[in-house]
């Protein structure tokens, strides 16, 4: 079930990336192409087979996981700035790229690396599932959830205003999907509270969050295309 969801998410992200190629070649909004490509790479590195392959190249001591963490931080920094600016949320943008936001990002990055190298990380294992459990691993995992959650919280108010506004229906639906993805990321902060018998919930929430976020961003682009096309027919 989770594997299907993971691969489905990856294919959708790859399709969305491919759709952005023509406009990226034309030089329109290249950042969105980079963002979709980054999301696809993030998903790729979180699936077992590709992870084991790539981590093998990197020396088999789970450096791939650290790479994934840093790529996720980059993805969320980029997405945070873009989305906050798009939804006209000046306070959200300040909280992400202002001194506080960069300090949060820096601290998260340094601590992530610190805990990673403090652990015995030999033998590739996706999501570090087979490493020895311990406080270092818990903190490492919590940090990985923290920064995306931080960005999500900064973005939610601005998007919520748009969902409740009176813009085009498709745009509002896409914004709501994006909002759902970000809300799920916020929910993921409480993963340690999920009982061990229900750990399957974690990947389900993670991949649903990624899927909703990607679909929301894709939907916004679609709503623009649809609006441009209808206005052209009217004229």
């Amino acid at each position: 079930m989770t594997t299907v969801l993971a691969w489905a998410t990856l294919s959708i992200c790859l399709i969305l990336t491919a759709i952005r190629i023509p406009s990226a070649v034309r030089g329109e909004n290249r950042m969105m192409f980079v963002l979709f490509a980054l999301i696809s790479l993030d998903i790729l590195l979180s699936i077992e087979e590709p992870y084991l392959l790539i981590d093998g190249w990197l020396g088999n001591f789970n450096l791939g996981n650290l790479l994934l963490r840093f790529m996720l931080y980059g993805t969320f920094l980029l997405m945070g700035i873009k989305v906050a600016r798009a939804f006209g949320s000046a306070s959200g943008e300040r909280a992400i790229r202002g001194p506080v936001g960069l300090a949060v990002l820096g601290a998260t990055g340094v601590l992530t690396a610190f805990f990673f190298f403090s652990m015995d990380t030999r033998d590739s294992t996706v999501g570090l599932n087979d490493l020895d459990q311990g406080p270092a691993l818990d903190l490492y995992a919590a940090l990985g959830r923290f920064y995306p959650g931080y960005v999500a919280v900064c973005l939610i108010p601005g998007i919520w205003r748009s969902v409740r506004g009176s813009g085009p229906v498709l745009l509002r639906a896409a914004s709501a999907t994006l909002l759902l993805g970000l809300a799920l990321l916020t929910v993921s902060q409480v993963f340690p509270l999920i009982p061990l018998s229900n750990t399957w919930l974690r990947p389900l929430i993670n991949y649903s969050a990624a899927l909703a976020t990607a679909l929301g961003l894709g939907g916004i682009w679609l709503s623009k295309t649809v609006a441009r096309r209808t206005s052209r027919t009217v004229i």
Binding site: N29, R85, F87, L171, K224
Partner: protein, 241 residues
Amino acid sequence: MSLPSKAFQRWLHGIAPNTSTADVCRFSGVKRTTLAQQLVRGKVAESSLVSISRAFDMNPFDALAQFEAYAALRGTPVPPTDAELVSQVSTMDLLRAVVEREEPREGVAPLVLAETPHASSVRNWVDAIDDGELRHRVSDATGIAPQNFSAHLTANRLPPELALATSRAGGVGPAGGLVASGLVTEAEAGWRPGARRDALDRMTEGELALLAGERLQALGKALRRHEHELDHTNRIWENLG
């Protein structure tokens, strides 16, 4: 907010005994599937009744009056107040009236008012009969939440039953809301031809200028809101599209 199927069918049989439903729909321009659905659900929309009565050369206002929920429309018609009449003059016509009054020019054709309803007719009508407590009384009488009532005004629509309740709460004749919402025309509602124009002429220059100013202010606000929303949408598309 609708007419019972049974009563509607009895009425339809009364005005067009030998016409099939298909023909009724063809003459009146009401979509056949729409009417069929309304009949099945037991709730026929007032707008269907209006279109059909017009197609059969019957006054829709009188047709409505035959239904129990619209019994208030029966009897001697209550003429509209001046405030109601002026509220049904569009903002642009009101501005033209100011210009005509203040700077009359030779050889310029006199102002002919546009047909009812206009772009903000519902809100203007409610404002015209509101003594400050109207919304409370409507909300008490019908159970509609004040914010839902406001939403109707903003969207410039007013369901017929709510229109009746509002005129009752405002202490004016029952027709005003039906005209303001565009369900029936002023002529169908029995308003005298030229009544709106005469009401305008009875206003003093000062009253006219003040009212035009208020309307222009409201129009400006609505346009700004719309532009703001458009900017917001374009900004999202520019950044994420």
